[in-house]
Amino acid sequence: MRPSYFLTIVTLTVLALVSVLIGAAPFDLRDIASDPEALRLLLVSRLPRTFAALLTGAAMAVAGVIMQLLVRNRFVEPGTTGTTEAAMLGLLLVTLAAPAMPIVGKMLVAALTALLGMGGFLVLIKRLPPEQPLLVPLVGLIYSGIIGAGTTFVAYQADLMQYLGVWMSGEFSGILAGRYELLWLAGAMAVVAYVAADQFTIVGLGRSTSVGLGLNYGQVMALGLVTVSMVTALVVVTVGMVPFVGLVVPNIVARIMGDNLRASLPVVAGMGAGMVLASDILGRVVRYPYEIPAGTIFGAVGAAIFLWLLLGKPANGARNA
């Protein structure tokens, strides 16, 4: 096995163990055989919470790397390109129009609007000069700001601001068995992405190279866009957005392992899962017994890492020769 895979598995195992052991209620792993309450706690709360954090992190990191290859720019992720905001807007509108719709239906509406939002972003950046790679994330941030302002306006008028707050800050404290299972779907999307890893890597080389190699460029683009918007909608609906996971994790992995997804995607997923779970664990212990949302912690850490990436060596930062 590659050393990077080994390291990923060991780290994730340790983090998962820590996550299961830490929480408000006292819990000892040795009791689960004798104490039915302990087993119940494990199955209803601790394990679901751990799985939710792992799945969220993995799926969002994978969505981020796919988006970066489709857009051919390192500094994008769903949260900085209007995709997340569009998903929230869709979710908001469907909550207003059809409050009784089952969660899967709402999620699908959100995925559809996320897809539209991302489409709008792609149309915008088509008009940017290719030799200015940093304009792409800049336009993305402003674009998501505009959609966000529109969403805030609607939420304010409809008195649904508290929903927006929940969707925007990824939090795992409310996760119980029965409330997070949709995230397995996001995990499944990540697996699908791994099957198509070569195709995504080739798309990252640009349209000419892709067509030259006989790839159905449009089909792979569509698969990627659907994956990213589904993952975004699933995460927003279940736990709320964790900002910057999709941006910083692929960048760190690419610095070390490069962009060949066949090799790097498992590490991207593992690192995303690990970092989100670590943020969640940190959020549980920093201000014990209060909890700080993982999204809040990762927002600060992620922005700092993003700054470091931007101010670091330009050659790796810009998706340009």
């Binding site: 051919r72 720019n73 070569d198 080739i202 190279t209 030259g212 159905n216 962009d259 790796n316 020769a321």
Partner: protein, 255 residues
Amino acid sequence: MIEIRNVSHRINGTPILHDVTCDIPRSGITALIGPNGAGKSTLLNLVARLLPLEQGAIVVDGEDVSRTPSRDLALRLAIVAQQVGIASRLRVQDLVGFGRWPHHRGRPGPQDAAAVAEAISDFGLEDLRHRFLDELSGGQQQRAFVAMGFAQGTDWLLLDEPLNNLDMFHARALMARVHAQTRPSLDRPRSVVMVVHEINYAAGWADHIVALKDGQVSASGSPKDILTPATLSALFGMEIRVEQVEGRPLIMHHL
């Protein structure tokens, strides 16, 4: 043979090619020459189905480009387009390896590994094979992409200004390599079509020349017939002297 019949093309309403008809022989190196904006790259991109064909027909070895599935074409014809904004952080070896993708579609076998190793050594990339693409110079990247095109193992290889960014050492080495691969005496000679900017590379290495001007074929034939003072002066709109050195034309366009 590549048969180009009555091809016209517009980009954003601007006519680029106008009723182009010519044949590209299935042997050796064919060089597309002509002034800026003559439509050389557009024609190459149409042959490689990177642009959709609007009018006319292009047939490669009997297969109509606009009707043949892209996957099948990738086994007959490889294109190395001009690279803008290369940013993928792939290792050179991985990049060249993707040239085999049309053959294995995700499951490389031993013959794929052999083809990749051959392309890497052919283009002097052994020392760079584990380096990341975005950390290489423009010339090194260019060589890696040409090696990828060769690794694709197709009968036809289309190169859009392959000498861009190359110093004279690597430019000559590349032309020599391409030349060697296209000799008819080989078991399986390749045919190469390339857009060349520096006309003396065409004069020195090409077997066939197609000259384009204002979206039309203004001349086509052997270098000896095309690279004459009269044809070149008309093509580029300036007085051009041509000397003969070792039996090949040497174009004195810079004096």
